[in-house]
């Protein structure tokens, strides 16, 4: 059966990776990438469409292309990467437009896969040691990224209820580390000193970036609906993470009035990470394991994969070769009657 897939966030790390992964699957006959910028990785056969960040043209694109699957990777899970307003526009309004397009009368969409985050559970002293998929948060949302993700979560739940004919898959990923991804955590760990909150040594759970791609691919290919936590085996204390990465922890004051703003700035410490460095977070992953998925790395393995590739980059001094998306060139290869050898030629 041939599939027609639309991938959001095609210009971001995850969208680009997912498109590359989907391109290796011949049953994905049509792959469309939507993004607000330009792709940062080359696509072999996927087509790229540029849109604004709320994806207001989603409805027209879905109607015109008759895609059966939407892979929604464009969810911001880090509050320091975009302004508060943009966060809401992207995560909430973007998801809303996407669901509206997928739920329109006569829609061709049968499966929606969403990349979400375990940030929806928050991180607080009153938390249980392990969150199951249906465990509610114990603390009120404290920052824009959690608020936006929780709100988007509600939209998806409503959509799944109202549209029983469409499969909805939501994957809540733990903090990602790996060879290539840059996040506030990886930036902190890459320095000689990293932040910690004095007197706290929380347990963290990670997932390796390759496993994130594999997990999204797994549910997309197998058409598995449902809500799943996705995190690698094992949890390790922040002190151990720092030791594996060979960085020293600098304790920040645990009392909020004494918090020194410039320090948290220096460290790239968004508020959701500050909470995490106090209380950590653990999630139960048995439900996802039951779908047949197996991880390539443990939590500690994800940390190690990150630091090993960083050491290589440091010692060779090499930046990965950059890629510039040329719209006209890509269009030429895909659509010009002069091209006879196919795109791969």
């Amino acid at each position: 059966m041939s599939r027609r897939v639309l991938v959001t966030g095609a210009d971001t790390f995850w969208g680009g990776r997912m498109i590359q992964a989907l391109e290796t699957d011949p049953s994905m006959s049509v792959i469309l990438g939507m993004g607000t910028g330009t792709p940062s990785v080359p696509f072999e056969r996927a087509e790229f469409v540029r849109a604004d960040q709320t994806y207001s043209i989603m409805n027209r694109i879905v109607k015109a292309t008759q895609v059966d699957t939407i892979l929604h990777t464009f969810m911001i899970t880090n509050s320091s990467s975009v302004p508060r307003r943009a966060m809401h526009e992207i995560n909430v309004i973007g998801t809303m437009n996407l669901l509206a397009a997928a739920g329109a009368a006569g829609s061709s969409v049968r499966h929606i896969v969403v990349k979400s985050s375990t940030l929806v559970y928050g991180s607080a002293a009153s938390d249980p040691n392990t969150f199951l998929e249906d465990t509610p948060r114990t603390s009120p949302v404290r920052n824009s990224v959690e608020r936006a993700l929780v709100e988007a979560d509600g939209l998806m739940r409503d959509f799944a209820e109202d549209n029983p004919g469409t499969r909805v898959t939501v994957l809540r990923f733990a903090n990602v580390l790996g060879e290539h991804l840059t996040t506030p955590i990886s930036r902190n760990l890459a320095r000689p000193v990293c932040p910690s909150i004095f007197g706290f040594d929380p347990l963290l759970q990670f997932i390796e970036e390759g496993d994130v791609v594999r997990a999204l691919l797994h549910v997309t290919q197998a058409g598995i609906p449902g809500l799943f936590n996705v995190a690698a085996e094992g949890r390790l204390p922040w002190s151990e993470v720092a030791t594996i990465c060979g960085t020293r922890r600098v304790p920040l004051s645990p009392f909020s009035p004494l918090k020194i703003r410039p320090l948290t700035r220096l460290f790239d410490l968004p508020s959701e990470l500050e909470d995490l460095l106090r209380y950590g977070r653990g999630v139960d992953t048995r439900r996802f394991a039951a779908t047949g998925f197996r991880y390539n790395a443990t939590s500690a393995g994800a940390v190690q994969s990150f630091i090993r590739s960083l050491r290589l980059r440091r010692q060779t001094g090499k930046q990965p070769a950059s890629y510039t998306y040329e719209h006209d060139v890509e269009q030429f290869f895909r659509h010009s009657p002069s091209v006879v050898g196919g795109i791969d030629a």
Binding site: T12, F13, G16, R17, Q20, A21, T24, S40, V41, S80, S81, A125, S126, P128, N129, T130, L132, T135, H180, L181, T182, S186, A190, R191, I197, F198, G199, F200, D201, L203, G210, R214, A232, E233, G234, R235, L236, S239, E240, T243, I244, R265, L266, F267, D268, P270, R294, N296, A297, T298, A300, G301, L310, R313, G317, Q319, P320, A321, S322, Y323
Partner: protein, 293 residues
């Protein structure tokens, strides 16, 4: 991107700028390059071993702890240990955890209010030593899924904050949550009666206003502080500790039910409280001296 110096290889959202193909297949059992032995509860056996080495003289020389019926605690399988609770900074918890780990070689996870997690240093040490916040989901995971021993004091801070004039008068056993958890997890409750903790750190006076101001559950003035000054905060008196393990209480109800009869829960909870109260009285009848047993 946020402020801060750029990291080697960082470029916009991603350092991935060349086509990198991710292995879509499972590449075999992953390695786990751990450095510490901290488990998912934050407990570290190495830290525990160190804590036991430090606590051993306090346990056997200072408190001269004696057990009765230790064989009633199973060598394997989950069980919920329930004890009476006393002393401003209660010594009963470390004594029970130390004793069982020493004699039976089994870890004991101590359930306590999540307030502990919010205190810097203390919260971390508490977790490394086997402390877990007392949430039903945590107790269920420990008892049912991991078949561990968990220790709980149903009186909570009502037991530790009571003044010396109320010594050995067991407080209300909460809302019977411990019975419900044991029923759901399908494990027995094993009551442990403790004598000695009351005299180790007696509460002479309580200052609720100070407690509120500091955000603490209670703020006691102990006899230890009056006698020893600041040193009294951490020094218990050398009362003789005696512990009696009672017969395990089994509930003949199926596990994993959504709901259990509230009246049955309260009945069982009160029954266990009565058993403990009577055992404590019985032990006190035999006690000739607070210090020598």
């Amino acid at each position: 991107m946020a402020s801060g110096r750029p990291v080697v290889g960082e470029k916009n959202r991603s350092t991935a700028v060349v086509p990198i193909r991710v292995a879509a297949e499972h590449t075999g059992e992953p390695e786990d390059p751990r450095l510490s032995d901290v488990d998912e509860w934050g407990r570290s056996e190495r830290t525990r071993a160190l804590a036991r080495a430090i606590y051993e003289p306090i346990y056997s020389k200072w408190f001269r702890t004696e057990w009765e019926g230790l064989e009633k605690i199973p060598a394997e399988g989950g069980a919920l240990l329930v004890a009476n609770h006393a002393g401003a900074i209660p010594s009963d918890a470390p004594v029970i955890m130390h004793g069982i780990e020493k004699e039976l070689g089994r870890p004991v996870y101590g359930l306590a209010d999540y307030f502990f997690r919010t205190v810097p240093v203390v919260g971390t040490l508490w977790a490394r030593a086997g402390g877990v916040s007392a949430r039903p989901a945590n107790a269920y995971r420990l008892l049912k899924e991991q078949q561990q021993l968990a220790l709980v004091f149903p009186e909570g801070t009502k037991g530790t904050s009571k003044s010396f004039t109320d010594r050995y008068q067991l407080r209300r056993f909460g809302r019977g949550g411990f019975v419900e958890i044991a029923m759901r997890a399908g494990v027995p409750v094993i009551p442990i009666a403790v004598v000695g903790a009351e005299e180790a750190m007696p509460v002479v006076l309580r200052l609720p206003t100070v407690a509120r101001a500091l955000g603490l559950p209670y703020f006691p003035i102990t006899a230890n502080v009056l006698a020893l000054g600041p040193l009294g905060v951490v020094t218990p008196f050398p009362a003789k500790f005696k512990l009696r393990v009672l017969d395990p209480v089994h509930f003949d109800v199926p596990s994993d039910q959504d709901r259990y009869s509230k009246s049955r829960i309260m009945e069982e909870s009160e029954h266990i409280r009565t058993l403990l109260q009577e055992s404590v009285y019985d032990m006190l009848r035999d006690r000739r001296s607070v210090w020598f047993g």
